[in-house]
């Protein structure tokens, strides 16, 4: 098929799109790189000057950096664990033939379509509010002191909200994988005398290894940059207890108006994302090899 002519045609037709995409990516990256070497404060216009790697030194030695790095990793790890550990049983349940299965599936998927800001507001004001929230009401009903979620357990609260948003995604991916599990394999296991638990451990779970990998990789990409939920609920606080890397960069740029330091932070975030990706692919990526 690929004669020289069609190859040339394909390349020339692809060129504009590829070129546009390239420029689209390279311009912001180049600008960020450039800004990260400048003293560039929005409060002090006109004072831009080249300061080398000073911004990086400032960002990396900021005590807030290590705290937010830790928060980021805890947030990512906890949400991943919650969504997968809850997603597998949920997917197994939804795979059962029950009346109204399609409706139930739709309801389970629903949280994924709610905007992060909206869901964060709902959780903050309707569910977790220490005075008027549903959880507070429930606690009072059984005679307990309501929990002031965002003050007492701020990071855990954010984790809950984000996990609630991503649980449908994990469930959906795992459910489709379950449906592709060969029925004859389960029957063969049944003939081999495997109990329901053994079938799950030896047949279903290995079958889910690949979709679980996909869930981990995709969720990690998005969870490293969680922002709206934190911005809406805790604003990174109290103190630094819910500040992650994304929120720290935002704070540098638009609270302290330090564009140079924020740019350096952005680049650090890119490096961290790559490190995480490297280890992820090492740990779980081999499941993707056919």
């Amino acid at each position: 098929m690929a004669t020289r002519q069609t190859q040339f045609l394909a390349r020339s037709l692809l060129t504009p799109a590829v070129g546009l995409l390239f420029i689209w990516m390279i311009v912001p990256l180049a600008l960020t790189l450039y800004f990260s070497t400048l003293h560039y404060s929005l409060l002090d216009p006109g004072s831009e000057a080249f300061i080398g790697l000073e911004n990086f030194r400032y960002f990396l030695t900021d005590p807030a950096f290590l705290a937010s790095l830790q928060n980021t990793l805890v947030l990512v790890g906890s949400v991943l664990a919650l969504t997968i550990l809850l997603g597998i049983p949920l997917a197994l349940l939804l795979d059962q033939p029950v009346i109204g299965r399609n409706f139930v599936r739709l309801m389970v998927i629903a949280p994924f379509f709610v905007m992060p800001t909206v869901s964060a507001l709902v959780w903050k004001n309707l569910l977790m509010h220490p005075v008027s929230g549903l959880f507070a009401w429930l606690a009072k009903l059984v005679g307990l002191t309501p929990v002031d979620w965002f003050n007492d357990v701020p990071l855990f609260s954010v984790i809950l909200i984000v996990a609630w948003q991503w649980l449908p995604f994990a469930t959906l991916i795992l459910l489709t994988a379950l449906q592709s599990l060969d029925e004859e394999q389960k029957e063969a296991a049944e003939m081999d005398g495997a109990s329901a638990v053994s079938t799950f451990i030896y047949i279903t779970l290995p079958h889910l290894a690949r979709p679980i990998t996909v869930v981990i990789l995709i969720e990690t990409i998005f969870l490293l940059t969680v922002f709206a939920e934190i911005y809406v609920t805790t604003g990174g606080g109290p103190g630094l207890s819910t500040t992650n890397i994304a929120f720290l960069i935002y704070a540098q740029a638009l609270i302290q108006f330090d564009v140079g330091s924020a740019s350096a932070g952005g680049l650090v975030a890119v490096v961290i994302a790559n490190i995480v990706a490297f280890f992820l692919v090492r740990i779980v990526g081999r499941n993707l090899e056919a």
Partner: protein, 335 residues
């Protein structure tokens, strides 16, 4: 021991009756083939025996014990699936040994049995490979290995060769038959391919529309089909059926003659006149499809090469000893 008896076994899915009462006696050590067209219920019947489906009525006795309420694993049967249903993430060793592992056998005992089974099936070099690294025939053998390693009372085969190419199918057919004879274990084998049925079976069960049409040895079915369906289903090319005046002369509603029992003579002889529509020359055989006017299309088979071609006129003389007669209901008339 593996003697299996079905007594009035029925199965319906909602209002649809798939199996309408099957009675069958399968002797220990025999090779029984269920054969029939798609949708005749042969696979369902096998799954009922396996316990993968619950019966709607009747009894299934294995060695005299009713097993309809026994879970599949406890029936002492093992099954080879059409898709092989190998566990893709386990090695060949893991696949074959899975049933033993579930039964709680010691590791070294599992290994010993797995290696013995693998040796029987020439799988020893592949024990540590994954199913995806094997060819179709090897996968098939792993599936069989998984069945024999448990030393079951009977093997159940669900169209196991239908995913293989023609040459491999013939080879595996012979291997399966030889293995079954060597182990002396009862086998029930489902297929839609009547050549497989004829070549492998000690006894054939012909199923149609959820009913057992006939149960007997391959040659019994060939020589004395119980009804029109069996007569048409067993034998290739199909038996010729003639109705009308000619049949009435013989005192039957329909008469049937197999293509190999029609003597082919040049035009002008006795018998049934016709024009050759298609002539197939296979070297070993010659098949003639003859347009015999009011009698319809007739098929004739000649062993060896016959230099007749489309358009030639021939007359076909049926062997009087080999004419099958059927009544109005399609049942065979004897005597």
């Amino acid at each position: 021991m593996g003697q299996i008896t079905l007594q009035g076994v029925q199965k319906s899915f909602g209002p649809v009756h798939i199996i309408k009462g099957a009675d069958l006696d399968i002797a220990d050590g025999s090779f029984v083939v269920f054969v029939g067209p798609s949708g005749c219920g042969k696979t369902t019947l096998l799954r009922l025996i396996a316990g993968l489906e619950d019966v709607s009525g009747g009894k299934i006795l294995i060695d005299g014990k009713n097993v309809v309420d026994t879970p599949p694993a406890k029936r002492g049967l093992s099954m080879v699936f059409q898709s092989y249903a190998l566990y893709p993430h386990m090695s060949v060793r893991g696949n074959i040994g899975f049933g033993l592992k579930m039964a709680g056998l010691a590791k070294d005992e599992i290994n010993r049995k797995v290696e013995a089974a693998a040796a029987t099936l020439n799988l020893s070099p592949y024990l540590d490979r994954k199913p995806r690294e094997l060819s179709g025939g090897q996968r098939q053998r792993v599936a069989i290995g998984r069945a024999i390693v448990r030393e079951p009372k009977a093997f159940l085969f669900d169209e196991p060769l239908s995913n293989l190419d023609a040459a491999l199918r013939v080879q595996m057919r012979i291997e399966v038959t030889r293995l079954q004879k060597q182990l002396g274990t009862t086998a029930i084998y489902v297929t839609h391919d009547q050549v497989e049925a004829m070549t492998m079976a000690d006894k054939i069960v012909v199923l149609n529309g959820g009913k057992i049409e006939q149960y007997g040895s391959p040659l019994e079915l060939y020589e004395r089909p119980a009804n029109l369906f069996v007569a048409g289903f067993i034998g290739s090319p199909k038996m010729n059926f003639v109705t009308g005046e000619l049949a009435l002369q013989k005192g039957a509603a329909t008469i049937g003659v197999r293509p190999e029992h029609l003597k082919i003579e040049r035009d002008g002889g006795g018998g049934w006149q016709g024009t050759i529509a298609v002539a197939e020359h296979l070297g070993s055989d010659t098949f003639l499809y003859v347009d015999a006017g009011p009698l319809g299309m007739l098929t004739a088979r000649y062993i060896g090469e016959l230099s007749l071609h489309a358009g030639d006129r021939v007359s076909l003389v049926p062997d009087p000893q080999r004419i099958h007669r059927f009544d109005d209901g399609g049942n065979a008339l004897r005597g």
